[in-house]
């Protein structure tokens, strides 16, 4: 029931924009035939009743879900009506309601929940009351017109009524005042018959039914009121089309004589009398058949309005390619380039991008594509913990209340904000099932012109991501440049466990402390799927040759690799670096890292 009520409220709120647009358009399209207005009101009715709607980039609706569907479980609930001032007021009220507990005797946790739980009841009661009222009016009228006299066809005279009206949906009958003048009678009958031809005796009750469903929305009441008036205008027009000047005069005189309105609203919404006389007399007297271009222009405008206000704003994560644009946060030492947590000196040259097709998303970076992952749209509630982690690292101008959609793969989260910002985050799961936040970044649909380059962080090896292991040592034996480059290193293992050594896959080149290039290791590129190979050795020492690197440029080269002891899952890292000056290597050094 809750989801239904929220959907109902959202439909009602979104229809308000259309209603306002129609009200403005009515003024602009004054010269257009009045049935154009009724078409627009028909669209309003459709919007209010139809739970399905198309999405369109042209939509002017601020938000497809002003009240988020999981509002009742959110700790900080919020709505987004698209108007900031309204949002502020409503959100503060809601927050207070959420924070206000109700006494323990009542079964609700706080005022907000009480409101949401009780609202279906209130809504149904409202509908029932309205229906009772209208049926009571209907039966009273029906009783009155029992004392009637047939004049012709389905037209009757009645003594007790104050204004002519139509009663009945399937076999509508026209009731006139019994003391009507001879010269009025034709006008009135023409008008009422026009109503019946136009099926107004069906449209108006339908409109009232829609009003009943949305009785809590004052804009819908206003819309219904204007809708009724427009029905009368359109009916007048239909009658006037066939009239000469004399008849028109007589018609407006008849209208004038009916202008002692005893009722403000109709006698019963299920029958209807005469409304808005003054405006109608004015428009009758000034009626001119509208030119063709006006009709065409109106239809075009109505078409535009339909698209713009009948459709919901589109989800911004449509098929396409999204580039990692800017990092808001990255775990120091974390590299986006491989799935396992190799450390890297920094993260500036990432060329990661995401490709979205239907529900699959594939991620590509310097190492190649990582295959397709299922991309699922989920709710804020489902990903609440992960979203909290992401939000801690976002800049302050991206606030929670503008979240539009949330998508997730098994280790990545994508948040779309209603102002168009797309944020991604990488949160792989630990062994115990909890997610760790590794990076938060912004996505753009435009690739970088130039890659950002960041300074080397001299303390990178001492950041908190890696385990220190004092019993393992590494040293560089030889570096061979030239056509078949290789590095020979020795790993000294003083633990009494096996060591599983994972070959490094990236080489980073620094010049004057700035990262200027990074490259995939040749022999890794061939094994695209099996992108890290590891080797296990027992014993105290092993020599490794890491082949296929390009050391032609001068600068400082860094390489990082991971290793594990026996089958423990704890990862250790090691890094080596050396300088190349004029084609000769020197100053090789190595450092071991801690922190698993």
């Amino acid at each position: 029931m809750d989801a239904f009520m929220i959907k109902l409220f959202n439909m009602s709120i979104n229809a308000v924009w259309l209603i306002l647009a129609v009200i403005v358009l009515r003024v602009i399209l004054k010269k257009a035939p009045k049935y154009i207005n009724l078409i627009m009101w028909g669209l309003v009715g459709l919007r209010l009743v139809c739970p399905f709607t198309f999405e369109s980039m042209l939509s002017l609706i601020p938000s497809s879900e002003p009240i988020p569907s999981d509002i009742y479980t959110e700790i900080i609930p919020h709505v987004d009506t698209g108007i900031d001032s309204v949002n502020q007021v409503v959100n503060s009220v809601i927050s207070t309601a959420r924070a206000t507990p109700i006494s323990e005797e009542i079964d609700y946790i706080d005022c907000l929940e009480a409101f949401l739980e009780l609202s279906p009841l209130v809504w149904v009661s409202g509908i029932v009351l309205l229906l009772i009222y209208s049926f009571v009016c209907f039966f009273i009228l029906r009783r009155k017109v029992k004392v009637c006299m047939r004049y012709e066809d389905n037209v009757y005279f009645c003594d007790n009524i104050k204004t002519p009206f139509i009663l009945g949906i399937f076999r509508p009958k026209i009731y006139l005042l019994s003391d009507i003048n001879a010269n009025e009678i034709n006008s009135v009958i023409a008008h009422e018959k026009a109503h019946i031809t136009r099926l107004d005796h069906i449209w108006k009750p339908l409109g009232f039914a829609v009003l009943c469903v949305h009785w809590f929305n004052p804009f819908v009441w206003v819309a219904y009121n204007i809708f009724c008036r427009d029905i009368e205008f359109a009916c007048d027009e239909k009658v006037l089309k066939t009239m000469g000047t004399d008849e028109k005069k007589s018609y407006s005189e008849t209208l004038l004589s009916l202008s002692s309105p005893k009722y403000k609203l109709s006698a019963s919404p299920l029958a209807f009398g005469e409304t808005g006389i003054k405006g109608r007399i004015k428009s009758v007297l000034s009626y001119k058949k509208p030119a063709l271009w006006i009709i065409i222009a109106s239809v075009v405008i109505v078409g535009v309005v339909s698209v713009v206000f009948m459709t919901n704003p589109v989800n911004l994560f449509t098929d396409g390619i999204y580039y990692v644009d800017e990092y808001y946060y990255i775990v120091p030492g974390y590299s986006e380039t491989v799935e396992s947590r190799n450390s890297t000196l920094d993260y500036g040259l990432d060329k990661t991008y995401y490709e979205i097709n239907d529900e699959w998303i594939s991620k590509t970076n310097l190492n190649g594509t990582f295959g397709n992952n299922l991309l699922i749209k989920c709710t804020e509630k489902e990903k609440a913990k992960e979203i909290e982690m992401v939000f801690e690292k976002l800049p302050e101008d991206i606030t929670r209340r503008r979240i539009r959609d949330v998508y997730a793969t098994h280790s990545e989260l994508f948040i779309i904000f209603s102002n168009g910002i797309r944020v991604g985050a990488y949160l792989p799961k630990n062994d115990d099932g909890n997610a760790t936040l590794m990076s938060v970044f912004r996505l753009s649909d435009k690739p970088h012109e130039t890659l950002p380059i960041t300074d080397i962080d001299p303390d990178y090896l001492r950041k908190d991501a890696f385990t220190n292991n004092e019993d393992v040592e590494i040293s560089v034996v030889e570096v061979e440049l030239g056509n078949s480059p290789f590095i020979e290193i020795i790993i000294q293992n003083d633990t009494d466990e096996d060591l599983i050594f994972e070959y490094p896959d990236m080489v980073y080149l620094y010049e004057n402390g700035k990262l200027i290039d990074c490259d995939m290791i040749e022999n890794r590129k061939e094994n695209a799927e099996n992108f890290y190979t590891a080797e296990r050795f027992t014993g105290a020492q092993k020599r490794f040759s890491l082949e296929g690197y390009d050391f032609s440029k001068t600068g400082t080269y860094h390489m990082i690799f991971n290793y594990r002891l026996s089958d423990s899952k704890t990862e250790y890292s090691a890094g080596i670096s050396f300088e190349v000056v004029s084609g000769i290597w020197e100053n090789a050094s190595s450092e071991m890292k801690g922190e698993g």
């Binding site: 029992k146 006299m149 003594d159």
Partner: protein
Amino acid sequence: MINYRLGVVEQKFASLIWHNEPISSGELVKLCQIELEWKKSTTYTVLKKLCEKGIFRNDGGTVTSLMSEEDFFSLQSKNFVDETFEGSLPAFIAAFTKKQTLTQKEIAEIRAMIDSYGEG
């Protein structure tokens, strides 16, 4: 003062009774069914209303009138003059003739009426 104004529909009903009285209520119902398309309950409701106004009487199933149609119309006219012209018939006639002239024929008729009134 009892309101002797009848709406057009009630007027038609009343004249049905005047032209068919005395009439049993059952037959009246049938008559109204044909002439006015009324249900039985409607006929009885309106009949009751007119009886309360003192125009008709329903005595054990038979409907009769308490005044003739002409009497009723005169009462109506008198009430109209009383209400609108404060009972002054000359004022009524003055108003009547203000916008429409009397024909010679009408003048002769009225003169004859006044003459015979004085005598009777």
